[in-house]
Amino acid sequence: MPAGSLVAGSGSASTSHAERQADVFIADGLIVGMATAPADFQADRVLDAGGLHVAPGLVDLSARLREPGNEYKATLASELSAALAGGVTSLVCPPDTDPVLDEPGLVEMLKFRARQVQQAHVYPLGALTLGLKGTTLSAMRQLTEAGCIGFGQAEVPIVDTHVLWQALQYASTYGYTVWLRAQDPYLSRDGVAASGALASRLGLPGIPAAAEIIALQTILELVRITGARVHLQHLSTAGGIALVRAAKHEGLPVSCDVTINHLHLIDADIAYFDAQYRLEPPLRTQRDRDAIHAGLLDGTINAICSDHTPLDDEQKLRPFGEATPGASGLELLLSLTVKWAQEARVPLAQALAYVTRAPAAVLGLPIGRLEVGAPADLCVFDSQAYWTVEPGVLRSQGRNTPFKGYELPARVRATVLDGRVVFEQT
């Protein structure tokens, strides 16, 4: 048996649909056996997972690493170590770095830096247009060769619908997936909170639900005429989710995700202008959150992501409207997914699929599952261990979280990446 073999033993393994007691046998960075060891298997190491869950390593569809350009906010090393502490072994990073990821050299450098620190697999999204400016298409073929998994605009919508149409045509020519966050730039201009009674009461300029719905209608019509594969990021409105549900019934090649923040929080949580709740898209109403829950359960929503956005303290110590949107989330993705599963009475294996198998399917990668032949990326956690979110316990340099003070279930005990134990805590 080759060196580096490992057994994650006696845990409750999250396989495709159910939990079952099984040892996971690993060698050469791959899962080589489930429950029964392959012939002549000899373990170098046994990871005792007794009483714990053994899940595939989490796949996060949206995590900002702040490299290149924003190293003062966070570094690749700090954020990838935060990922492993959160059980995240694969993540997609948006292209809104500084400079933006619109040149193959930048993508190669990012991939190289990520490999160097040997922590979590990084799948960059390239900029769909140069500088995210929405006018000139980026060199998508070269960017794909450099390692981009798809193309997007991060939080910068393409204003010119003609350019968006052509971008989808071009991407669809080569089968690339385009990642878009649906938000009309005019209807969201100056807005800092969801339009509605709460924003009116607090005197915060609003972003109406129509901003998401109208942009979605445009995108879906362009998908219809181009056949481009589009992943819709961070849906936040009941109306938007209904549109995607109909689009999927129609057979359009779309997928979508929601963030852990929108899974749990609503606009009323802003309370007295707490800037930790300043997010993009803005937190919406109870009704919208209910629609997110329903959309997950009926399969309209494919995945849950962290939308990890590490910021320094100063960016949140501002009046609500001047604070930078975003929340740190890599270390909360697992716990908030498990919390949702408990509250919504969703079986754990099904809930975990939203952060493992389903996002992997969006990426078209053979990751996020526990089966023989799959990469040995594992998240071993204790679903019964509760921990309190305090900024000091986060490994991310972004201590910005709206969940400060929450007591959450599920503590990661070990993270395995390519068959190596890369994170452990008792």
Partner: protein, 331 residues
């Protein structure tokens, strides 16, 4: 979140644990007793004499030795002046910090500015800021002995204006519980309207009307306990109090409104329209007024207008608020 963690209740930050007024940040959630206490305290500052001295404001040593800093991140000569006069009548030392021109344009953060000012030993900060909620941030991060008074934040609140409006209304109409009050104009962008609505609701006014085109009315306004009218004639019928709002010049022509002329034609207060209200109705305006846009000159200067009275009462009300948050009570 449906269930928040224990000990994570977000309490009203302007009251102490024992329910006393520590800061004045908004009218919303303020107990009726505190609102009445402010109005009653203000009444003690207004001279009750006859003729010439009637309505004059007394000078008292209640804030002697205390420092009041006027932190105006947004220009406002009028509001700043009335706070300055109020503080001086209470014998406080006053420092006007014009932050609009200095620090913010140099990129200094709000909290850095606050730290620098804290080093200068302020007791009371009067804050005006273009961002809704900015005074909350300041109240959260200033030294424990410092009190914060919101002198207008974004579209959110202008609590002292609302209190002086209530003081003025009570002066002419002692019983709030029988009144119909109409607020006319740009409610969307108005912190005065929001604070007035909360104050009127708190004081038990049974009918509050908002009058304006839909572009100037915020979404969900009805949830604040307001009846919405789009025609001023219908909205003014039988009302006891008319509060006209200022329309900012930059909003007179664009996507919100076609023109100042059309606005005046639809919502300007003319003698004919005023005649639809109760015969003894009073006309108010937070100022400065745009004659011929919100209001016709003959109405602004007419017998039913109490606009200048508002300015005078504003000083007494601001004195009362400063004295109350600082814990100084008149004898």
């Amino acid at each position: 979140m449906t269930r928040t963690a224990p000990g994570f209740i977000k309490s009203n930050p302007q009251l102490t644990r024992s329910g006393e007024l520590k800061h004045l940040l908004t009218i919303e959630g303020l107990p009726r007793a505190i609102v009445m206490q402010i109005l009653d305290t203000a009444l003690q500052f207004v001279s009750e004499g006859e003729g010439e001295t009637q309505g004059e404001i007394k000078k008292l040593p209640l804030l002697q030795g205390k420092s009041v800093f006027n932190l105006f991140f947004e220009n406002s000569t009028r509001t700043r002046s009335t706070f300055e006069i109020a503080a001086k009548r209470l014998s406080a030392d006053v420092l006007n910090v014009n932050l609009h021109a200095s620090s913010s344009s140099k990129g200094e953060s709000l909290l850095d500015t606050l730290r620098n000012l804290s080093a200068m030993q302020a007791d009371l900060l009067v804050v005006r800021h273009a961002q809704s909620g900015a005074p909350y941030l300041i109240a959260q991060h200033c030294a424990p002995h410092v009190h914060v008074i919101n002198a207008g934040d974004g579209r959110h609140a202008h609590p002292t204006q609302a209190l002086l409006d209530m003081f003025t209304i009570r002066h002419y109409k002692p019983d709030f519980r029988g009144l119909t009050v109409a607020i006319v104009g740009d409610i969307l962008h108005s912190r005065v309207a929001r604070s007035d609505i909360h104050a009127l609701t708190t004081l038990g006014v049974p009918e509050i009307r908002a009058i304006g085109p839909r572009t100037l009315l915020p979404e969900g306004l009805e949830q604040l306990g307001v009846t919405v009218f789009h025609e001023i004639e219908a909205g003014l019928r039988g009302v006891d109090v008319i509060i006209m709002l200022r329309l900012q010049h930059e909003r007179m022509s664009g996507a919100l409104l076609p023109s100042a002329q059309e606005y005046f034609k639809s919502y300007g207060l003319t003698p004919e329209r005023l005649a639809l209200a109760a015969p003894d109705a009073i006309v108010m305006h937070p100022g400065p007024i745009n004659r011929g846009v919100e209001i016709e000159s003959s109405v602004a200067d007419g017998v039913q207008s109490v606009i200048l009275k508002q300015v005078t009462f504003g000083i007494a009300v601001r004195m009362a608020v400063m004295a109350m948050v600082a814990g100084a009570r008149p004898g």
